[in-house]
Symmetry: C2
Subunit: 331 residues, 2 copies
């Protein structure tokens, strides 16, 4: 197999060959290999269920690729509701002519990321569309997780809660931006990584997490504005506390955009009860994925539904929710 | 909103407007409207988990559209492992410029089909890609169902088992084929429909179902060949027993193709224990979706891994698994 052909999506012999020689090879597990129309799983109690489509362009970028992003992104959506990631489904939509080795590299990367988290890819589907009907490769992943702590929710914030981020903001967005626009910003790298292990530590230590969200499309501004509206509170954050990588800052200054609107793929925004804030910060900083964690602000009663940013100059201004489309196909 | 814009996939204000004004309007249920990164579900015992990508072109066709097909197809994959469909996730990948009314019509159709089955759409994602990076609309749907009868499996066939189909074969494939090739075959119509209610009847009546599969891509030939290989048995079917709509037969004769390779989307291939065959047939025939049901053949010990078709002329020949790609984007 040198290239993916329409017949690989036809449901006949070539499809089975692709499934056996590629997907079973890397995603190998007994549930997947049962080859039924649906996987059979045993679960008890409350589960979380999520889905995301990935259309990022280019499909390979510094720090990751569409496969790592798809697994990490889905795992992070489960982690954000305090759910242990257990099972994933994968739906590939492939443009005819995609080099087999590109697909293999993506599949390998998905398998590696899934195995690091301990999540199994148990069911999948592959469609191949004619040249020009899609751009290279789209992946939709759904995930099922076991909820470890109930009630973690955007509607859960109240006065005094403290807001943390586990890492720098905007790394993924800045990396894809520079790559797509052909800008030379040496060293920009996607932060794309599954965060479950870090979140698990917070839960094991009994931190009273009120809300979590990974700030992907729309970045930190989107998450904070959603929270302020969903919980009907005011959120105050201080610019000097928000960690931004120097190279990301450089790109933002060059382009005149805000890092708060740019996607992260390895960062978690976390709201905790005030008495747990310091402990949460220490746990995050002691974890390899949370070394750059920071307390960035807190929740107040007013102004309801709004986010206030205290700038480096000490001025307070509203941090608006992002609008328009800075860069399509960021994830 | 007249057309879908890139900003509708940006994760900011326009995305929220689309979610609230379109998806919440039609898919309305409390789980979806919690607006978290993942839906929280309560399930107990064995569940089935499946995913499918839908890339059918055109997105509207006689008998259905890509939305109805996506819900019905996923429901049927769950039904095929004897699982009651409970929850669906939906991932939309939309080409910039798609008329809003087209997306609305698809969403409405998904909501209607889901509601007929009693399945809830509880989580979703929307990506918009620039013009030319996708063709109109792709939908990936994942489904979770509650397994009602364990062990229904392609590996479960043994000598004497009886094979039934619940309806005519190839209707969906023939309809899309004619439409795409601009052939005038009056009255061809996709059979696209969710089959859970019919399967439920068989289960309620205690039919000993060994295996089930909806013959989509690759048609009846693909299903029977998979079964013969997975169970290491021979499968014998008689051409005169296999129901094929006259108009489908006409198209097949005109094109020189076999109806057994064409996709159905409202048909179930069912293997049952010999003593239950007549009762299963009666139950199917008494259901509105199974009026054209037929016993088409049986399972033997030899030739292992092969499907034998007795033609109308009384000749026995091997029914090969389909290969190549008759028509891309059939589902």
């Amino acid at each position: 197999m040198e290239k993916i052909l329409l017949s690989h999506g036809g449901g006949g012999e070539e499809t089975w060959k692709l499934i056996k020689e590629l997907f079973f090879k890397y995603f190998s597990n007994p549930i997947l290999e049962s080859m039924e129309d649906a996987a059979t799983l045993s679960v008890e109690g409350k589960i979380a269920f999520t889905t995301d489509g990935f259309t990022v362009s280019p499909i390979f970028f510094p720090g990751g690729d569409i496969g790592k992003l798809a697994v990490a992104g889905t795992v992070n959506d489960l982690a954000a509701v305090a759910a242990e990631p257990k099972y994933l489904s994968v739906s590939f939509i492939i443009e005819e002519g995609l080099p087999f080795k590109d697909l293999e590299r993506v599949v390998q990367s998905m398998a590696k990321t899934a195995s690091e988290v301990g999540v199994q890819i148990v069911t999948g589907d592959t469609k191949v569309v004619p040249k020009g009907a899609a751009d290279k490769l789209f992946i939709s992943v759904s995930g099922i997780g076991k909820i470890v702590k109930e009630g973690v929710s955007a509607r859960n914030l109240s006065e005094g809660d403290v807001i943390l981020v586990s890492s720098t903001v905007g790394d993924h967005g800045a990396c894809i931006f520079a790559l797509r626009e052909g800008l030379e910003f040496e060293g920009l790298k996607s932060d794309c990584v599954p965060l479950w292990d870090m979140v698990k530590r917070l839960l094991e230590e009994g931190i009273n997490i009120k809300a979590m969200r990974d700030p992907t499309r729309g970045g930190l501004s989107a998450v904070l504005n959603e929270w302020a509206q969903a919980s009907n509170v005011g959120i105050f954050v201080e610019e000097e506390k928000i960690p931004v990588d120097e190279k990301v800052l450089g790109l933002c200054e060059f382009l005149g955009i805000e890092p708060y609107d740019l996607a992260s793929e390895g960062n978690m925004v976390i709201a905790v009860a005030p008495e747990d804030a310091q402990k949460a910060l220490e746990i995050l900083k002691s974890h390899p994925l949370g070394r750059k964690a920071s307390i960035i602000g807190k929740v107040k009663n007013q102004p309801r539904g709004k986010v206030i940013l205290k700038t480096l100059y000490g001025v307070e201004r509203i941090l608006e929710p992002p609008s328009g489309e800075i860069l399509p196909r960021i994830c």
